[in-house]
Amino acid sequence: MSTNPFCEELTALLPRLRRFARGLTHDVADADDLCQQTVERALKSRQQWQEGSRLDAWVYRIMRNQWIDDMRARKRRAQTFVHEDEGLNVGMAGDRDAENLVELGNVDRALARLPEEQREAVVLVLVEGFAYKEAAEIIGIPQGTLTSRLGRGREALLRELGEIA
């Protein structure tokens, strides 16, 4: 069989990419679509990846930009795209027990209420574990902007989730 470092590494990244997609979209079907589009884009533009640089940050960036594009397209299609409270957690319910459901529902709802720019900052740092500098590079903003978005998003989450008054 062939050894292709790019493709092997990309395959190994898939579980994390799926998690990031779920964090951005809160919707299983949207996340799957986003993953597929991201992998397609990454494969198509793999010549642009600098060997030796971090592939994960590069692919996360593709996913993040793809999602922004998708969101803009949706907003153009329907000005009234609002996802607030309803229907958000239906896909997550599954067979989890009631106690967990309440907990998970809260997390999803709290994340969904964040503005897009705060949510991506929170997800990159707190879920995906990127350092501030790396997260800022993925989004393409200065680190100061990243930390202020992260701070606001976090504060909102803590308030929402009842961690601070």
Partner: protein, 268 residues
């Protein structure tokens, strides 16, 4: 010395320099309110991590892994086709030196027709590691690329069109047009008819124009991404080239000759 929310957050995230971290740590140690805040920040990270952990544990949909595997296979095949050592010997892979190859072949004992002998591009590799011949049927069936006319297999549909229009000397044509057909070489056989060596993914072969039809003279399993063993696929092309070399009169067509033949509709 004041400690900002930003400091506490960065402290909880391990983003502070040693000096700053020490400063915040002592402030936190002295103030339960700050300690509670740092604690909350850390719990938030844990809560989010736990929340999304199941996604990482889920099996990855096959569509994603297959998409990547197909791209890897394509790249492997391209690497083999474009291997510099091959190019160096027979410059543009498609401009093939028949006469030299034939001379070489005749000079050498039959046993010397090794896979590395370089004649028709990837070499007059022989030793039929592949079954040339009627591996057909299923691979073409259903795609409308092949039909049977009076006991002969002929190209139809997209394959016939591609053979009519695509040039080996402009190999990108097909790719640009979104097709998966690659014409590897064109030549004239005894009697003057035109033939073309093609690779169409799942199946490769040699087709010769005969009374308005592209009759398939040879077929082999091609280099398509459906196949698992790409080395073998590469040798399928080599085998076809060797077969073509035996059928051909003179050298393969160069770019100008090929265009001229196309204008003449391949001798229709």
């Amino acid at each position: 010395m004041s400690v900002t929310d930003q400091d506490l957050m960065a402290f909880a995230d391990g983003e502070l320099s040693d000096a700053d971290a020490a400063r915040v740590a002592s402030a936190v140690a002295a103030d339960p309110a700050l300690a509670a805040r740092v604690d909350a920040e850390r719990r938030l990270r844990t809560m989010l991590g736990v929340h999304f952990a199941p996604v990482v544990a889920e099996p990855v949909p096959e569509t994603l892994t297959l998409m990547i595997a197909a791209a890897a296979a394509e790249e492997t095949e391209r690497d083999m086709t474009d291997a510099p050592e091959l190019e160096a010997v027979s410059p543009p892979a498609r401009v093939l030196d028949f006469a030299a190859a034939r001379a070489k072949r005749q000079a050498a004992a039959p046993a010397a027709r090794k896979p590395h002998a370089r004649a028709w591009g990837t070499g007059a590799a022989i030793a039929a590691s592949l079954v040339l011949g009627l591996v057909l049927g299923g691979q073409f069936a259903g795609r409308g690329a092949i039909a049977e006319r009076n006991g002969a297999l002929v190209a139809s549909g997209a394959l016939a069109k591609g053979l009519d229009t695509q040039l080996a000397s402009a190999a990108d044509d097909g790719a640009k047009a979104g097709g998966d057909l690659r014409v590897l070489a064109s030549f004239q056989r005894t009697g003057g008819g035109y033939c073309r060596v093609f690779d169409r993914g799942a199946t490769a072969g040699i087709a010769c124009k005969d009374r308005g039809q592209w009759v398939l003279e040879r077929t082999a399993s091609g280099s398509g991404p459906e196949r698992g063993d790409y080395r073998q696929a590469g040798s399928a092309q080599a085998d076809l080239m060797a077969a073509a070399q035996n059928m051909a009169v003179g050298e393969p067509l160069d770019a100008a000759q090929e265009r001229a033949a196309r204008v003449k509709r391949w001798g229709d």
